[in-house]
C-alpha cells in the first residue's frame, strides 16, 4: 500500500536563492533526516517518490508552494508536518498536510493559476500626490497591455532565441498603493498545459514604466489557484 500526501510549504529566506533541482535534493535529505517512510522508485537509481508543483524562478519567495510525497506507511498529518519541520533548514517550512486519495488529478492538471505579488520601492521619499501619479501611470500601462492582442517577447532557450506570446498567460493585474512607501502589484498568471511562465519579464515591463523612480523589491509567489484548493 502507498499513501499520498499533498503539502503546502514555504520557500523563502536563503532558500529563495536555490534552484528547483537543488530544492529537490534538499527535500530528499530533509525526509531522510526526519526518518519519514518514503516510498522509493524501482530501478537502477532508487529515488524518493516526490513531485513538486511548478518551479519557482531564482530569487522569488514562495509562500504556499505545493508538493506531494508517497509514503510506505500512513502517518498522521500533523505528525508528518512536525517531523519534517523539526529537521528542515532555515527557509523551508511545511504549512499544511493533507492525505489525498490515490485516484486523483495530477498536480500539473490541478493548478490553474499562480498569483504573484511584488513591491516597487521609491528610490527617494515621495509624497502622496506623486504616489497617485505613478500609480495611475502604471494603471494606464496595464490597461493598454491587457488590451493588446499579443505580447511577444524573445526568450533564450537551448535552441537559441524563441518568441513567446505572454498575453494568454496574463489573467489579472491589480495595483495597490495605500502607503507612500511602496506600490504593491498583484499579478495572476494562467497555468496553461502545465506551463507556469516566469513572471520576471512582465514584472520588468511594469517596473520600467516608473524606471528611474522605483526599484523592484521583494517578489513573492503568493499562492496557486485551483478548483479544489481555492
Amino acid at each position: 500500500m502507498s499513501y499520498l500526501y499533498r503539502m503546502k510549504y514555504q520557500k523563502n529566506g536563503p532558500l529563495r536563492f536555490i534552484s528547483h533541482l537543488d530544492l529537490n535534493q534538499l527535500f530528499r535529505r530533509v525526509l531522510l533526516r526526519a526518518d519519514i517512510p518514503v516510498e522509493l522508485t524501482e530501478g537502477y537509481n532508487p529515488r524518493i517518490k516526490v513531485s513538486f508543483g511548478p518551479a519557482l524562478p531564482l530569487g522569488i519567495e514562495g509562500w504556499q508552494e505545493i508538493t506531494e510525497i508517497v509514503l510506505k506507511e500512513p502517518l498522521a498529518e500533523e505528525e508528518l508536518k512536525g517531523k519534517i519541520n523539526k529537521v528542515a533548514p532555515s527557509g523551508f517550512k511545511i504549512l499544511e498536510v493533507e492525505e489525498v486519495s490515490n485516484k486523483r488529478i495530477p498536480l500539473s492538471k490541478l493548478l490553474r493559476q499562480a498569483s504573484y505579488l511584488f513591491y516597487l520601492i521609491p528610490v527617494d521619499a515621495i509624497d502622496a500626490n506623486k504616489m497617485v501619479y505613478y500609480h495611475n501611470k502604471i494603471e494606464q500601462y496595464v490597461k493598454c497591455l491587457l488590451d493588446r492582442k499579443d505580447i511577444k517577447i524573445k526568450k533564450e532557450s537551448k535552441k537559441g532565441l524563441k518568441e513567446v506570446d505572454l498575453r494568454p498567460y496574463i489573467s489579472k493585474i491589480n495595483i495597490f498603493s495605500k502607503n507612500n512607501d511602496r506600490i504593491i502589484i498583484c499579478l495572476i498568471l494562467n497555468i496553461e498545459a502545465g506551463v507556469c511562465i516566469n513572471p520576471n519579464p512582465i514584472i520588468q515591463m511594469l517596473a520600467d514604466v516608473v524606471k528611474d523612480y522605483f526599484l523592484i523589491g521583494k517578489i513573492i509567489r503568493e499562492k496557486f489557484i485551483s478548483e479544489s484548493l481555492i
Binding site: I18, L26, R29, V30, Y44, N45, L58, P89, G91
Partner: protein, 627 residues
Amino acid sequence: MIIDRNHKNNNRNMIIINKMLGEVEKPGRYTGEEYNEIKKENDQQLINIALAFPDLYEIGMSYLGFKILYDIINKREDSWAERVFSPALDFEKSLIKNDIPLFSLESFRPLSEFNIIGFSLQYEMSYTNILNILHLGRIPLRARNRDKENPLIIAGGPVAFNPEPLAEFIDLFVIGDGEEVINEIIDIYKDWYGKSENSSKKELLNNLVRLPGIYIPSFYQVNYHTDGRISFFQKNEKHAPFKIRKRIVKNLDKTPFPIAPIVPNIDVVHNRITLEVFRGCTRGCRFCQAGIIYRPVRERSVGCLLELAENSFINTGYEEISLSSLSSSDYSQIDSLTKKLVDCYQNRGVGISLPSLRIDNFSVHLANQTQRVRKTGLTFAPEVGTERMNKIINKNVSEEDLFRTVQYAFKMGWRRIKLYFMVGLPAETQEDIEGIIRLIKKVEMMGREKVGKKFSLNISINALIPKPHTPFQWVAQETEEELNKKFRYIIQKIRSNSISLSFSDTKLALLEAVFSRGDRRLGDVLEEAFHRGCKFDSWREHFNFKSWQESFQKFGLDMAFYAHRERGKDEIMPWDLIDCGVSKQYLWSEWEKAIQEANTDDCRQSICNSCGLEDICQEIGINRNNS
C-alpha cells in the same frame, strides 16, 4: 579592548547584499544558513575565527579538513568558527562596485573584524586566491604590514609542507594534523588577547612558536648563493626551532570527527558523508607527496566507523557515504566494513562509495558490493605503461594485474573505465610512452570484445609535478615542449570513438612545479601576478600565463630554475626546516633506488623500511619487524 568589533555588516550593507544576491550566478554560495550551520550570540568575549578556503564554495565545502576544524572550534564555548570562500568573479565585481568588504557566511561579518583567519592550503594554484581574499577583506597582504589590530593569519594543509612561497603573507603555518594544535593555538591566543592592550603581535607569535608543529616564517632569514640556491637559514628569535616536526594525532578513534557537517543548500562537488577510514599510506609511490606527509598509517576501528556513519546519516540525511582515504581497499577490515555498511543502508536509500581503489580483483569485488545495481564507472591509476617504469615509481602493479582487473570489471557488468597515467617521469624513454599507448589499446580491445558498443574508456594523462618531501624532489620537470611532444604523439596514436583523452595543461603544470618547490623570493612574483589580475589559476578559463611570465621577469626570477633544474644531493631545500617525519636521507635512498629500478616493499606487508618514523610507529603501537 583595542579593536572595536562591529557585530556585522550594518543594515545599509545588508540591504545592498540582498540586492547583489539577486543579480549574481548561484547566489546560494553566499547566503549561509544551511542545515547544521553554527551561529553563536556574539558577545565581545568570543574569539572569532574565519576558516577561509581559497576557492569557490562548491569546492571548499567538499574538503573534510575544513569540516573537522569547523566542528572542533565550534565545540568550544569561547570561540566561533565561521566560513569564507573565494567569491566568483561576478560577485567580486559586485562587492567592489557596492563598496562591501568580503564577509563570512555565518554572521556576514567583514573579514577584517575577525581575530584569526585560517586558510586551508590544498593546492598551490590557489595562492593568488588567498591574496585576493585578504585584499577583498581589506587586510594588508604582507605579514609585516599587519599588527595586533589586524587578524592573525594562519594556514595549514598539505601544501603547508612547503610554506615558503607564502612566507611573506602568512603569520603562522600549522604543519601536519590540525585537530589538537588548533585548540592549543586558540588557548594561547585567548590568553594573549585578554591582555593584548599591553602586548604586541610579536609577543603573541613568540608564545605560539613554542607549540610543536608551528612554523613562523618571519622568525627566519633565508640566505642565498649567487646562483639562487639557498646557502643557509638563520633564525631571528631565540625560541624558533630549526626543525618543525609535523603534528600527528595518534589515535583516530579518539580524534574528533564532524558527525553533523553542514549540508549545503546548493549542489557542491562532493555532496555526501565523507567517512575517513584511515589516514596515511605506506605503499611508497615515489611521486606521491600524500603518501609521505600523512604517514604513519592510522586506522579507525570498524565499530567507530559504523557509529560515525549512523550519526552522520541521522544528522544530514545524505544519500551517499564515501569511504575516504588515500587507498580505500588497503583498509585492513575493508571487506567487513563495506558489507556491514551496505547491509545497513541499502534499504534506506543510501549508497556507499569507494573513491580510491587499488588495481586488483578484490577492489572490483568491493565495488561490486557497493554498486550491486547501478554500475557507474570504475577508475584506476596504473600511472605508467612498462615494468621498468613501474619499478622507478615504485607502483607495484603489473600489466597483468590491470588486464585481469579490467576483465573482471567487465564480467561484473561495468562498461565505463577511467585510467590515469603520468608522463615526464625520471628516465622516461620513448618505450615508456609506447607502453602507455599499448596498455590503452589493449584495454580498449578488451572492452570492445566484452562490452561492445556501450563501452567507453576515459584516459587522463598528467605531467609529473615533482613535489617536496618525495623521492622525486630532486628531479627536473620536463619542459613544456617535451611534454607537448609526448601528448601529441599519444593523440596521434590513439584515435577511437570509444576513448576520450584528456591532458594536463603544460603551462599550468610548469607553474605548479615552480610553486611546489619554490622559495620565499616567489612572494614578490605572487603579489605582482595578483596585482596583474591573476586568480583562480587552476581554472583553465581564468589562467593567464602571460601575466605570470611578466611577473617573473619583473623580479628577475626564472621559472626554469625552480621547475627544470635537477638538484644535488646536499642542496638545501626551501622546505628543509619542515620535518615531515620521513628523513631526507631516506627520500634520497628511495631516489637512488628509483634510478636503479629497484622496488621498495610496503612496510605493512613486509619489514620496516626505516623511513624515519620508527619512534612514532612504536609510540602508537604499530609493530614492524625490524630486519
